[in-house]
């Protein structure tokens, strides 16, 4: 049982589990923080960005000035943004049998895995995960493809060159592995390999392993996974939430009795309370708009945005914002809003009840109907006609490196009336803003991360009591910026086993049993014997059949009758074919009773001698000697088979067979 760790990002995990005879990939998250090293992709020609000076080395050499640009003391790569893929060298990924996806954020590397590694297996995910994951991928591909960039920088990646660069470029890991974005055909090919599953559905893999998705409470269709055989249970906990937002609550009970619990996807902002952040979000938004400024909310097209819209739905009238237009701009905005309304079965109880009425589960349907919320595929087209300020714009990408958000940063960045509010926790907001500096607009950081915090984790672990916990190394020490906060780490007994990128862990458990089925005919033939009160034994001699990793015991075939007119026997014909094994014996032989039995069976000259360890029973006439000790009996006789067999059977009467 091994775990191959292919990603170093604790919330965008990618692990491969070798469990029994199957190879299971758990999530394939795509680390997009690498894009922060690149210049933004502007939708409209940006004079500011195109005028940025090329970067010059300390020694004055300028050979990198086409690839690297400097902005307010930071250096950026002027190229199509690239992503940091999961490790592909640690093991042959074409041997992966299945990929289990826990939520739509953790599947963004899927096309790289399924289309480039020779992968031939199946991917399992819930329907909302697939549908929304598709939207996220579509948005990503769209926002990168619609700004074609002639230049593709690669010189800076040279190891010798990279050493000379300023941080953070100097310290960027695995830059040679960074890849450009995939294409829509690749996305479609990857998604076609997904098989849809429902919560608590038991999926058999090769008869050896059963996997089951459980609700994780974090996002629409998000799941934790149970990977188990009859005797081992691994729980994979990834991106879970105990807060009541829109998804179905987390299923904790089913995680009990795990041998190993793999813990990933905890909150990235353990010190922030999501409820408080939502409050701050609303008040900052209201203040800006009241002062005549615009609000920009960089966000993903699905997830927290539903909750934010719901809060605003309740808030805008009381805050006097009913006349302020809300715009949601994304190539998948419409689809995301529509899809959110059709997954009744994956929603929390309150929302489900609404569907039963029947009413749309999310109130953004009403915001759209009353024209308070408008959605557009991009800033081009209808939007430019409808656009009124001051307004609130929700748009992507949260990294501020591509998507329509780049345009609004350029447009609104110069005025201190405007505010950009960061709600997505995946990117450091300071790093995200770096290529836009100097900025006049206000920046508010209200990260909303509903995933488990360390207090909830320790509660959860106490509740479900796994034998061992495995987690990314980041969770075994306090965050680097808050090294005194020893409460901000996973605390359990025994201490968690930690992993880092490109490491292989041996998981600590030992199997002792396997399931086998006894066929009814064989079961009928068994003769159980009560050995102790409540404990019965039966010796089993049977034929073992193994097929598709399932074991079955059958009645042994009846020995073939020798043909009637058998002529001459050769000596070797008699050699026993397969040795029918005799049972083990246990018990002891009471000498007095044994002698009585012998006499009853016609032995008249029985003599008993005592020895140090037991007795010797002599049958004088037969020249036979039987040594009886506490746990052994030795019959020494002439080669008189009938006699020996008779004595044997008499001895066996006193012993139990196993």
């Amino acid at each position: 049982f091994f775990q191959y760790c292919l990603s170093g990002h604790p919330t965008l995990p990618c692990n491969v589990l070798k469990f029994k005879s199957t190879t299971i990939m758990l999530d394939c998250g795509l680390d997009m923080t690498s894009t922060l090293n690149f210049l933004p992709l502007p939708l409209v020609q940006s004079p500011r960005l195109s005028k940025l000076p090329g970067w010059v080395l300390k020694d004055g050499s300028t050979f990198l000035d086409k690839e690297l640009k400097e902005c307010s003391g930071h250096v950026f790569v002027d190229s199509v943004p690239e992503f940091c893929l999961p490790e592909t060298e640690l093991l042959d990924l074409s041997t992966v049998d299945v990929i289990l996806i826990s939520n739509y954020h953790c599947m963004m590397a899927l096309p790289y895995i399924t289309e480039y590694t020779g992968f031939t297996g199946t991917v399992y995910a819930t329907e909302p995960t697939v549908q929304i994951g598709r939207l996220l991928m579509e948005e990503l591909v769209n926002s990168i493809e619609r700004v074609p960039k002639a230049q593709s920088a690669s010189m800076w990646k040279n190891k010798e060159v990279q050493r000379l660069l300023p941080a953070p470029l100097k310290d960027a890991v695995e830059v040679s592995m960074w890849r450009k974005c995939y294409t829509m055909p690749e996305v479609n090919a990857a998604l076609s390999k997904i098989q849809l599953v429902g919560y608590s559905q038991k999926i058999e893999l090769f008869g050896a392993v059963q996997v089951t998705p459980l609700s994780s409470g974090y996002a629409l269709g998000s799941s934790n996974w149970i990977i188990q055989s009859h005797y081992e249970k691994v729980s994979y906990v990834s991106g879970s939430s105990l807060l009541t937002t829109h998804p179905q609550p987390m299923d904790q009970a089913s995680l009990k009795n795990s041998d190993v619990l793999i813990l990933t996807g905890l909150t990235q902002i353990p010190t922030a309370n999501p409820d408080g952040m939502v409050g701050e979000f609303c008040s900052n938004l209201a203040m800006t708009v009241r002062n005549g400024g615009n609000v920009l909310v960089p966000c993903y097209p699905s997830g927290v945005i539903y909750d934010l819209l719901e809060c605003l739905y309740q808030y805008i009238d009381s805050a006097g914002l009913s006349s302020v237009p809300f715009y949601f701009i994304s190539p998948v905005a419409n689809s995301s809003l529509e899809f959110s309304q059709i997954f009744a079965e994956w929603l929390c109880h309150n929302k489900q009840t609404k569907v039963y009425l029947p009413e749309p589960p999310f109130p953004h349907a009403e915001l759209i109907q009353t024209n308070k919320l408008k959605h557009y595929p991009s800033i081009h087209g209808d939007f430019s006609n409808d656009f009124k300020q001051p307004c609130v714009v929700f748009t992507g990408h949260p990294s501020l490196r591509f998507g329509d958000v780049v345009h609004f940063m350029e447009l609104w960045g110069k005025s201190s009336l405007n505010t950009v509010i960061f709600t997505e926790p995946d990117f450091s907001y300071l790093d995200a803003l770096a290529p836009y500096q100097p900025l006049a607009m206000k920046c508010v950081y209200c990260p909303i991360d509903t995933r488990l915090n360390f207090i909830q984790v320790s509660k959860l672990l106490k509740e479900v009591q796994p034998l061992h916990v495995v987690c990314p190394e980041q969770y075994t020490q306090p965050p680097p910026t808050q090294s005194h906060r020893t409460d901000l780490m996973v605390d359990c007994q025994p201490p968690p086993m930690s992993y880092r990128r490109a490491e292989v862990l041996t998981l600590p458990y030992k199997r002792r049993y396997e399931k086998i089925e006894i066929m009814p005919e064989l079961a009928d033939s068994l003769v159980p014997l009560e050995i102790k009160p409540g404990i019965s034994l039966a010796t089993v001699s049977a034929v073992l059949h193994t097929k598709d990793n399932k074991h079955v015991l059958q009645l042994p075939p009846k020995p073939a009758q020798p043909p009637a007119g058998k002529k001459r026997k050769r000596v070797s014909d008699d050699v026993p074919e397969c040795k029918p094994l005799k049972p083990l014996l246990s018990g002891s032989i009471p000498v007095d009773q044994f002698v009585q039995t012998l006499e009853k069976h016609g032995f008249s000259d029985v003599k008993v001698e005592d020895t140090a360890k037991g007795h010797i029973v002599l049958l004088q006439e037969a020249e036979t000697l039987i040594q009886i000790e506490e746990d052994s009996t030795h019959i020494i006789c002439d080669n008189d088979e009938p006699l020996r067999v008779k004595l044997r059977d008499l001895v066996l009467k006193f012993l139990q067979k196993f």
Partner: protein, 591 residues
């Protein structure tokens, strides 16, 4: 219920000590006691909750759930009731509708109330498709897509390794708004299947649709009115989609109406539960929601008297009450008009009467209604036909089949066909009858990995074709069964092994020296026992596997050697064989 009959589906299954009630329907053909199942079959005087482990509802049609509030609130049941989400959403609305017609219109008393419907629905647990629901430690259920109406499901009920599949109503061919029923090869001990169309092999759906459209079109062209009695949910949406696309394509202007306020609501359910419809609708719903109709408008009672052609969908579907019956009475006298019955009609309903050719109907108050309008029957019920039923049996591979929800004569025919083709027993009990089915389950036990590995290692030998015997000891303790090696069994029980050893003296005539005799014995054994490990040890003894042979000189007779052959009880066969082999003496050696 539903035994050799269509209506009040209600089946009680006892499996491995668990009791599960499948569906709880009403009968459309009766207005007396017979409209509900007879729950006294379950228990005469005890509480139903004590006797039943759970109730499962397959879909929202009233002949499958119409008695549920009566059962849970009036007879009394507090245990869990399982159904899918769409069924849970829609079922209370149909129940309320049914209650209104019965109590408010027909003025019946002693019927369930609105509050009872609400209380009943509180006991409902919604299940996802393919989710394994653990009802208790042993009993689990799992829903499969049935494609009959929105949210219709087949259910697998499983206890240990015994299982039953109940199909409810299902459809094996995808239609315009639903997908086809699907189940995996789950090999249940018993498959309980509906058999509404046990003897019908329906012509292709396309033909039926074309026929339907042609008839509607012709009637409208000559200025007639078309009445299509439907139930608010199910076929109605299917036919609406069909007419909507036809009207669009042919650019027709005649109005299409849909009666009752339920409809708009009904379509809303389809929009919100779009994941339960077929692939095509799901794929395109963002661009165009198939349940937003352009040509189909809400019906007002006054429209029935409007001149000119029109098409009206009206509820209920069997013309036994309500708006469809009212419109029917208005239009029946005109031969230009047409009524199209798109589904099955239960005996006793007006629908059944006109379909069987009756043209003079006695209505309330002894009034005679003469039916001059054209009467057409088009099977649009989303039930599997004979071919579909056989196909499902092939998919699931049950060991026994039981037919319900059909007519006895037709069942008889299907039963024969099933028994012939699949060689399984097929049953068709009438209401109140009990069918007992014997299962022969294998017994799952835990085998110690050591023992299994030892055995599979042997199984990997080149000679793997020969069946290998494995030996173990089954320890049975508090309902747990463990198969371990005999050694481990002894150890676990804290018992010592008792070794039984035999030593036989075999006399051999051989004048040679002892070590030469030993060598001869060794060569002899080596020659005979080719498949065994025969060894000559430095101390002068011979071993055959674990059997020890030593030679000594006879104390009195120099020409005789005594071979001491010693083995334990575990080597009994080989030991016994060796002594008899040696007793025959050694072959004459050439040396």
């Amino acid at each position: 219920g539903a035994g050799q009959d269509v209506g009040r589906s209600c089946i009680l299954v006892s499996i491995a000590g668990k009791n599960v009630m499948l569906d709880c329907g009403m009968h459309m053909g009766y207005n007396d006691d017979r409209r509900f199942p007879d729950f006294s079959y379950i228990t005469q005087n005890g509480r139903l909750t004590d006797f039943l482990d759970c109730v499962i509802i397959s879909h929202f049609h009233l002949d499958h759930c119409g008695a549920l509030p009566y059962f849970s609130e009036m007879v009394g049941y507090d245990g869990p009731i399982y159904m899918t989400h769409p069924t849970k959403a829609i079922c209370p609305i149909l129940l309320e509708d049914y209650r209104k017609i019965t109590v408010d219109k027909k003025g019946e008393t002693n019927f369930f109330t609105s509050q009872m419907i609400k209380d009943c629905m509180k006991k409902v647990v919604a299940v996802h498709l393919h989710q394994t629901v653990q009802v208790d430690e042993e009993l689990e259920i799992k829903a499969y897509y049935a494609g009959h109406v929105l949210g219709a499901a087949m259910f697998q009920i499983k206890v240990g390794c015994e299982s039953v599949v109940y199909t409810g109503d299902y459809n094996m061919t995808p239609d315009r708004h639903l997908g086809a029923a699907w189940i995996d090869k789950c090999r249940p001990d018993l498959l309980i299947t509906e058999s509404t169309y046990a003897t019908t092999i329906r012509d292709s759906k396309r033909c039926r649709e074309r026929d339907f459209l042609k008839k509607v079109h012709e009637t409208v062209e000559r200025g007639g009115k078309v009445l299509i009695p439907v139930f608010a949910l199910g076929r109605a949406q299917e036919l609406c989609i069909l007419l909507e696309t036809f009207w669009e394509r042919m650019n027709l202007k005649a109005p299409i109406y849909f009666s009752t306020g339920l409809t708009e609501k009904a379509n809303h359910y389809y929009k919100l539960f779009i994941t339960w419809t077929n692939q095509k609708i799901r794929k395109t719903f963002v661009q165009r929601n198939m349940f937003e109709f352009k040509h189909i408008k809400a019906f007002d009672r006054a429209f029935a008297d409007n001149p000119g052609p029109m098409v009206v969908f009206a509820t209920p579907g069997m013309l036994h009450a309500g708006q469809s019956l009212q419109i029917f009475r208005k239009w029946a006298g005109n031969e230009k008009n047409m009524v199209i019955m798109p589904g099955y009609c239960v005996q006793g309903t007006v629908g059944h009467k006109i379909l069987s050719g009756q043209r003079k109907l006695e209505m309330e108050g002894r009034q005679i209604l003469e039916v001059k309008m054209q009467v057409e029957y088009m099977s649009f019920s989303a039930h599997a036909d004979a071919k579909g039923i056989m196909q499902l049996i092939r998919q699931a591979e049950p060991r026994n089949v039981l037919l319900v929800h059909g007519e006895a004569k037709k069942m008889e025919f299907l039963k024969q066909k099933i028994e012939q083709e699949f060689h399984v027993n097929c049953y068709m009990p009438a209401n109140g009858e009990t069918t007992t089915i014997f299962t022969n389950p294998s017994i799952p036990v835990d085998i110690s990995l050591g023992l299994l590995k030892r055995e599979t290692a042997i199984g990997l030998l080149p000679d793997a074709k020969k069946p290998k015997l494995m030996h173990g000891t089954l320890i049975m303790k508090d309902n747990s069964f463990r198969l371990v090696s005999p050694e481990q069994a002894l150890k676990e029980l804290g018992l010592a092994e008792h070794q039984l050893r035999f030593t036989c003296r075999v006399h051999i005539q051989d004048p040679r020296k002892e070590h030469e005799t030993v060598l001869r014995v060794y060569n002899h054994l080596k020659g005979v026992l080719k498949d065994y490990s025969v060894q000559h040890l430095p101390d002068g003894s011979i071993t055959v596997e674990s059997i020890l042979i030593q030679a000594t000189a006879h104390s009195e007779d120099q020409g005789t050697k005594v071979l001491l052959v010693s083995w334990t009880y575990q080597d009994e066969e080989l030991g016994s064989y060796l002594t008899s082999l040696l007793k025959k003496g050694l072959p004459q050696s050439s040396t």
